[in-house]
C-alpha cells in the first residue's frame, strides 16, 4: 500500500534545506486523520532549513485534514488553497506560513506532461 503523505514528510525531512521555503520561518503542525486515528508531523522551517519530526512542538500554524485528501494534495491531484476555502483543510494560527509552505506540494502530473510536450514541440 502506498503512503504518499508519509513519503512526502520523509522526503522533506531528508532534504534538510528546501530553497522554495527560504521565505518561511516557523513551526507547522500537521494532524492527518485516518478513520479514527490521527497521525502527526511537526515541520520546523527556518529560512528554508527544514526538520521534520513526529514531536508535538508548539505550532505557529496547525493544519488538520484527512489522509485521502492530504495524499491527493501532496501528489498534486488536489489544490490546498481551494481545499481550505471548502473547509476540507482546517488551519489555525498564521495562514501566511501555510501559503509559503504550500509551494512544496506537487503540481498536477498532466500539466507537467503537457509542458514537456510543448517544449519538445518548440525545439523540434
Amino acid at each position: 500500500m502506498t503512503d504518499p503523505t508519509g513519503e512526502f514528510f520523509d522526503e522533506l525531512g531528508s532534504k534538510k534545506h528546501e530553497p522554495m521555503l527560504r521565505k518561511a520561518s516557523g513551526v507547522l503542525s500537521f494532524d492527518i486523520t485516518d478513520g479514527t486515528s490521527t497521525a502527526h508531523w511537526s515541520v520546523v522551517v527556518k529560512k528554508g532549513d527544514v526538520s521534520v519530526s513526529r514531536a508535538h512542538d508548539e505550532a505557529d500554524c496547525t493544519v488538520t485534514t484527512d489522509r485521502p485528501l492530504f495524499d491527493a494534495i501532496v501528489k498534486g491531484e488536489k489544490n490546498a488553497m481551494a481545499a481550505i476555502l471548502r473547509g476540507e483543510v482546517a488551519i489555525q494560527g498564521d495562514p501566511e506560513l501555510l501559503v509559503l509552505f504550500q509551494r512544496v506540494f506537487a503540481g498536477p502530473a498532466e500539466s507537467i506532461r503537457r509542458r514537456d510536450l510543448a517544449v519538445a514541440g518548440r525545439s523540434s
Binding site: 522554495m20 527560504r22 521565505k23 489544490n79 473547509g87 483543510v89 495562514p95 504550500q102
Partner: protein, 710 residues
Amino acid sequence: MSDGLVQILDGNTFVVSDSRGDIEASLTDPTGLFSFDTRFLSKWILTLDGERLNPLSVDDLQYFETRFFLVPGTGTVYVDAKLSVIRRRAVGDGFHEELTLLNHDEKPVEITVRIDAASDFADLFEVKDALKKKGTYSADVENGSLRLGYSRDTYRRATLISSSAPATFDDTGLTLLAQIEPHGAWTTDLDVVTAAGVGGTYTTPKYDRKGTKARPNMERSLDKWLEDAPRVESDWEPLKTTYRRSLVDLAALRFAPPVMGGKSLPAAGLPWFMTMFGRDSVFTSLQSLPFTPELAATTLLALGDWQGSRLDDFRDEDPGRILHEMRYGEMTAFEERPHSPYYGAADATMLYVVLLDEYERWTGDRKLVRDLEQQARAALTWIDEYADLMGNGYVSYKRRNEKTGLENQCWKDSWDSISSSDGEIPGFPRATCELQGYAYDAKVRGARLARLVWKDEAYADRLEHEAADLKRRFNRDFWVEDGEYFALALDSDGKQVDALSSNNGHLLWSGIVDKKKAKAVAANLMGPRLFSGWGVRTLAEGEGRYNPIGYHVGTVWPFDNSFIAWGLRRYGFKDEAAQIAAGILDAADYFQGRLPEAFGGYARELTKYPVQYPTACSPQAWSTGAPLLLLRTMLGLEPIGENLLIDPALPQGIGRLELLDIPGRWGKIDAFGRGRVHVAGRRSQRQLGLAEEIMPKQKRKNGKKARVTA
C-alpha cells in the same frame, strides 16, 4: 452599477442597497451584503406596521458609513408624516445598523417593526452569471438571534443577525415592538455578522452590542491617511479637488489580504473587484509610490507570498509567475473557477520586478529588496523559461485552461483588443509589444538590484546583456517602417499585427525604444489619430477596429495615459507629457475628481466634455492613481541616488503647483513648479491647455526649487 444604489465598504466586505437602505436582490439589481466574494444577505427589508418606507435623503458620511432618512408611506403624494426613521449603517465584518424611530406626534405610538432577512449565499461569479446553487440552506433561531446558513459538503457560510432591543426571531427575519412616547425616540442596534468559516474557524463580530459608534476595522483611520499623505497646493483649484478625491478613493480601495496581518494593498475596483489583482495592484502601487509607498511594500510582499511554484494548467500557474486574481467564493473553493489564485496574466510578473526596483529607488528600503531576492529572480527566470511560448525570444501568451482561463492576458483584455490595421484578429500565442517593453525594463532594473543589493555582478551582466539583445531585436522586428511606430503585437507566425495603438506609450515608459525612434513614436502618440484632446486613445482613428466607444479599441483610459505621460518624460518630451496631464486632469474635473476607467475617444472639440464609458466599478484603482502619477510627471520627480530630482513642466493654466512633504529616502521633501506663461485672468479659467496649444514654441520658465525638511 445601477442608478440609485448605495454602497459602503471596508476591504472586501461591502453593502449595496437601494436608497431606502433595503436589500432586495434580483438579477438586475445586484444588491446585498457581500464579503469574501460571497453574498451573505440577499434580502433586508424594513417595514413599519407592514408598510415599506419612503426615502427622504441619503447621507454618505464616509465610504464605510451611510445614513438613510425615511418616512412611512409609499404613495406618490407626500403625507405629513408623524414619524421619521433613520438607518445609520456602517460596514465591518458584516454591518452594523442603528435603527431609530422618531415620533413627532403628541400621542404615544406603538409600531410593529419588521425586518425580512434572507441570504442566497451566491458567489460573485454566480451573481454575474445567474448560476444555480448546489448546497442546502438553513435558518435557525438560537439565543435571541437568527442564523442563516448554507452548506455544501464541508463548505459552510453563515450570517448571524441580532438586535439590542428585544425582538422575536423567525426563519425569515425579526419583529420588534416600538413603543414611543410623544416626541420621543426609539432605537435598536442591529448586527449582521458574516461567518466565513475559512479553515474551520468563524470570524467573530467586530462590534459588540453597545458599539453604536461602529468603526471599520481599518488599521488607520481615514483622517490619518489623509494627514500622512503629501499636500498639494495650486492656484488651479480643480487639481486640489481631484487630488483629495484620489486619496479618499485610494483609502477605500485598500484591501488587507488575510495573509498580510492587517497591512493593505490597492485592490482593483470598487465594489466588484475588491481583491488582489497582480496587474492592477502593481500599476496602482507604481502610481502612488511618491504618496503612499507602504501600499507598494504590501503589494510586493503579498504577491511574493503567492508567487507560482509549480505547473498547474487549470490555474495557468508556472514557477515564478505572479498571480492575476485571487477569489474566495464557493466556485473557487470547488474549483469551478481557477481563482485560488489564478495566474493568467502575461505582464504582472515583469511589472513585479519593475515595482520592486522603483520602490527601492524611492524608499531606499534595501531590506525588502534583499528579502524578496528569491521572488525577483524567480520572476526574471519566468520571462525566459515559461513566457517565451513561441521560442522566438519574445514574451507571449496563450491560456492553458481553455474552459475558465483568460484568453487575453495583457491589460487590454477584451476579445477584439488586439488587431491589425485591416481589423484582423490574430490567433494565439500573441506577443503584444508592451510585454516586450516590460520584459526589457524588468531585466534592466533586475540588473541594477543585482549589482546594488544582491551583490551578484555576473547575474547583473547577464541580465543587461539579455536586455540589450531584446531591445535590438525588438526595434527591428516590431517597427512598422511606413508608419514609424511599433506594431501592437507579433502573431504566432512572427508576423506584425500592425495597428497603431496607445501601447507605444508604454514602450516609451519601459525604455525599450531606440532613442532615434522616440521622436516619431511621440509624434504618433500626440498626433490626431491617437490624441483626442483629452488623452491618447487605446487604438488610433482609422484602424479597422477603431470605435470611439469600444472598450480597448478607441476609448481613452486615464491609467494608460498616466503611464504614457511618464514614458514621454522618460524620453524628454516634457511638453507632450504636460499636454496629456492637462487633458486627463481637465476630464477629471468633469467627473468631480473621480476619473472613470475609460471615456469615449471622440475628439474633444466634438463633444466638449468627456463621454463616460459605462463600467461596473467605480472608483477603479488605476484610474484613481492616474492623477497621482500625473502630478509626478508634471513636477518631473525622479529619484537620483539619495536625492529627488525635480524638473517641472506644467501645462498652461497651472501657474503654481506645490507638492509638500513627499516621503522617500530623503525624508520629506517639497517640490515646487511654476507655470511657463502668465495667463491674465487665469483664475476664472477652468480648463487647462487645449489641444491646439500643444508644444508651444516659446521657451518656458520653470521654477525649480527643492527643500529638504527632514
